[in-house]
């Protein structure tokens, strides 16, 4: 019970921290939502496996400020993504565009799923056939 409470307190603690990193002001709730989705979808290039919303790196702070400024100027999500993409390349986007180079990334998981299903199907069919064969033999 005690450790449970401790964990709960820890969780509460991080929630407070996350808010206090940097609060940005926006004119509307809509703009704030745009900002939140954008910073969740842009990658921090220093820490690479973090988006700029979670990263505490200087670069992430700069990029967050830049995104906030652009949102406040009334720029659209697409415009801001394009701005980042022309400067940092596709890598800055957590959802890279569909290109020949990124094709494997997008299709890969589905291809593997398909391969897996085919293997299961073949395996099941063979087992069924084996079963019928043994049955037939028993019947004899």
């Amino acid at each position: 019970m005690r450790s449970y409470i401790f964990c709960l307190l820890l969780l509460l603690n991080t929630a407070v921290l996350a808010v206090s990193i940097d609060a940005k002001k926006f004119a509307s709730a809509e703009q704030e939502a745009t900002y939140s989705t954008l910073i969740a979808e842009l990658r921090c290039l220093v820490c690479q496996n973090e988006n700029i919303a979670n990263s505490n790196a200087d670069l992430a702070k700069d990029l967050r400020r830049q995104v906030a400024e652009m949102v406040n100027q009334g720029k659209s999500k697409q415009e801001i993504k394009h701005y980042m993409q022309t400067r940092y390349g596709d890598f800055v986007l957590y959802r890279p565009p569909f290109k020949i180079k990124t094709g494997l990334l997008w299709i890969g998981p589905f291809a593997f799923l398909l391969i897996g299903l085919i293997v299961i199907y073949l395996y099941a069919r063979r087992k069924k056939r084996l079963k019928t064969i043994t049955l037939n033999e028993e019947e004899k």
Partner: protein, 177 residues
């Protein structure tokens, strides 16, 4: 027979992918600026704060932009190698002092030598984002038409000078403006 070949093939495919993965450098993010015009900037010069430098001032010659900072440890390691590069080539090297203070930057250049033809500084601002800088030191090579031809992320090694920079500079200098 097939029983052995399929796992073997799977193993080979996986091994090839993993081997390729091992060779990749996650820091080597291709710059979207390669073969595009150098991004616009207009920044205060470190040693002459009343003057500014923009990318158009550099047009017509091959030039290098080195992004550095006095707080950056790998820039310090790179510094003597930059000095050597400056000694070996006549092309201007512009030093972009990134998120730094004038005092600290000047101090470091006094201590370790100044490889830069011109130094520009920006304490805050957009120049870093405009050049797609994400980790200092970074070095860009521009041709006579102000097109970015090469970007080097991380410290330059003596080997890089001989194998990459000097041949590239010679090649770009032979091109028409």
């Amino acid at each position: 027979m097939l029983k052995f070949i399929i796992p073997l093939l799977l193993f080979i495919v996986m091994a090839v992918f993993l081997a390729l993965g091992l060779k990749l450098n996650p820091r080597d993010i291709p710059s979207p600026y390669i073969n595009k015009s150098a991004p616009h900037f207009s920044l205060v010069q470190l040693h002459a704060p009343e003057k500014r430098l923009t990318e158009t001032d550099m047009q017509g010659k091959v030039w290098l932009l080195n992004v550095w900072a006095s707080w950056c440890v790998s820039c310090r390691a790179e510094h003597p190698i930059l000095n050597r590069l400056a000694h070996k080539t006549s092309v201007p090297i512009v030093g972009l002092d990134y998120k730094d203070t004038v005092g600290a930057a000047k101090n470091l250049l006094l201590q370790l030598g100044n490889p830069y033809t011109i130094s520009i500084i920006y304490p805050e601002g957009r120049a870093g984002i405009d050049w797609g800088v994400y980790g200092v030191p970074e070095t860009f090579v521009m041709d006579k038409k102000n097109i970015v031809r090469y970007k080097h992320t991380g410290p330059i090694t003596p080997d890089d000078i001989e194998k990459i920079f000097l041949p590239l500079i010679t090649k770009l200098q032979a091109e028409n403006a």
